[in-house]
């Protein structure tokens, strides 16, 4: 078995960290960097048991625990390809495995005791009944995209470029063996894994993994771990703003990402973390793309995504669409450590990407005179509802299947706690009579819960622009003044 680039990197780190006091913890169990190679070796042995020697690709359900983190490190060190997903919440239902995965690795949520920290105590290996026997490339990480309407694509990354991305992030934020990185976001997503966990590991930083955090858990862990770096979401910022009674001074950088943070929340929360709040722009496909520096002034940090990371290029192109609500220019990104492409459930390429190519982010943006970028919205009309990115056109496509409807237009309305409300305007087929409540009931069968319109209006006709296109702005105004 060849020596993977990650194995080389890890050797250097664990050797250097042997003289530091750095550790990785999940609150229940802690290990030092010098102990990591031994634990990894045990996992590798267990994975090799009963193997055919053929390259295999497990799907890994990884919680934010030390056991989960060590498993990922073992797979990376081995150069093994794997699909990384967060564990199923609550129930015992397993998330579907792609057909190119030969087996599934489930990490127990119950932390093993230190005495019994043998992989067998926390790791379950199950064969995937749908395995199609298709050979997979080595050294890949596969992540599912959040997918607007359940049509998820699988994003392929090489381990090499993940390491490049991680080093880039580490440089940007000054990760070191003295850093203390708290991870309250899922370590099974690109943000938690590629932008925080790997940079922390590759610099020998101390790490605190928090599984399903809430205000009380976070305050408790913060007190004990005293993090200097944290990667959070706007929801976490909102939560801490409600719970913090006094400002924190220990943070060197407090990163928020995942979805856009409102300027209001940014300005309100920033003083609580010592003015070190940063809005990072990135994606599952590209990893970290752009961010301000903690030393930038509040105006820049609250309103822009700063400047691209080393080697990353951003380009702005005029929008092709003439939709009136979509302003600005479209953001494209060329990334030296970007993804390799999309594959489907059978492991076949859907689309291949190249580091030299421009990736369409789907966001609209403008560039300020100082070079910083302001993201203004989505190029495809979409909303972030209940934490999910929903393309309005996808809802329209699904609702058009309803028999009684001839035309449907979906717009984003006033914001409530869950994001912008989703409103659908439906024109019934001639002779059909339906009401909004009936249609909404049907939507429960067709759409995921987060994409069901909050209000459905049945109307005989829709307002039109002089060009003959539907006047979406007028529909938005209709619900705004209701």
């Amino acid at each position: 078995m060849g020596h993977s680039p990650f194995a080389t990197a890890l050797e250097g780190i664990t050797a250097a960290a042997s003289t530091s006091a750095s550790f990785v913890t999940d609150g229940a169990f802690t290990c030092t960097y010098t102990e990591i190679p031994g634990f990894i070796e045990q996992i590798v042995q267990l994975l090799d048991e009963g193997g055919t020697g053929q390259p295999s690709c497990p799907i890994v359900e990884c919680p934010n625990t030390l056991a989960g983190a060590l498993l990922c490190l073992a797979l990376m060190k081995n150069g093994t390809s794997f699909v990384l997903i967060p564990p199923a919440q609550g129930g015992t239902d397993l998330k579907p495995a792609p057909n190119f995965c030969d087996y599934r690795l489930v990490v127990s949520q119950n932390a093993p005791t230190r005495d019994a920290f043998a992989p067998r105590a926390y790791l379950r290996k199950e064969l995937n009944p749908g395995y199609n026997g298709r050979p997979v490339d080595r050294g890949r990480l596969y992540l599912r995209t959040s997918g607007s309407m359940g049509v998820s694509k699988i994003v392929a990354h090489t381990h090499d470029r993940l390491i490049g991305n991680a080093r880039n992030v580490a440089r940007k934020y000054g990760f070191s063996a003295q850093s203390r990185a708290a991870i309250p976001v899922p370590v099974a997503h690109m943000y938690g894994f590629g932008a925080e966990f790997l940079p922390a590991i590759l610099t020998g930083a101390s790490i605190d993994l928090q599984e399903r955090t809430n205000l009380l858990k976070y305050l408790d862990r913060e007190k004990r771990f005293q993090p200097t770096i944290v990667f959070a979401t706007p929801a976490v910022c909102e939560m801490l703003k409600a719970g913090y009674k006094t400002p924190r001074t220990q943070y060197e950088v407090f990163v928020t990402s995942g979805q856009r943070i409102t300027e209001e929340l940014f300005r309100a929360f920033d003083p609580f973390v010592g003015g070190r709040l940063i809005n990072q722009y990135g994606s599952t496909e590209m990893g970290a793309i752009s961010a301000c520096d903690p030393s930038d002034n509040i105006e820049l940090r609250a309103t822009t995504i700063g400047r691209p990371l080393d080697g990353v290029n951003l380009r702005l192109d005029p929008l092709a669409s003439a939709e009136p609500e979509q302003k600005g220019t479209q953001l494209y990104c060329r990334h030296p450590y970007g993804f390799e492409g999309y594959i489907d459930e059978n492991g076949e390429w859907i689309e291949q990407a190249s580091p030299a190519g421009w990736y369409r982010t789907g966001d609209t943006a403008v560039r300020q005179t100082d070079g910083s970028i302001v993201v203004t919205g989505r190029a495809d009309a979409s909303v972030n509802r209940r934490g999910y990115l929903v393309l309005l056109s996808d809802i329209e496509r699904v609702m058009e299947q309803l028999d009684a409807i001839s035309t449907v237009v979906v717009v984003a309305g006033k914001e409530d706690k869950q994001g912008p409300r989703i409103a659908a305007f439906c024109v019934p087929r001639p002779g059909d009579s339906v009401d909004g409540a009936q249609l909404r009931a049907r939507c429960f069968e067709l759409l995921p819960h987060y994409a069901i319109p909050d209000e459905i209006h049945v109307t005989p006709s829709l307002p039109l622009l002089p060009t003959g296109k539907i006047d979406r702005q007028q529909l938005v105004a209709l619900i705004a003044y209701r």
Binding site: R212, N214, L216, A242
Partner: protein, 91 residues
Amino acid sequence: MDNTLERLKHLVADKLDMNLKIDDIDPDAPLLEEGLKLDSLAIVELITLSEESFGIEFGEDQLNMNAFANLRSLAAVIASSRSQARSAGTS
């Protein structure tokens, strides 16, 4: 104290957006995952609602898992905060 607990139960049933019925609320059930299953958003909401409705402000040292273990423990913390506030007000 019992009065505080009753008010707290009503607060959870009526104001908290969790679809919990007053008769189904066990004051000794854990607030988090295994019990009333309050999520991260609901915990913050419960804190804010309690502060508003009882006219108190939790100290950060009170925002911990022991105080928020269940509604009975939370009622005790609220009751003691209120009596402290009252005695501070009269002194």
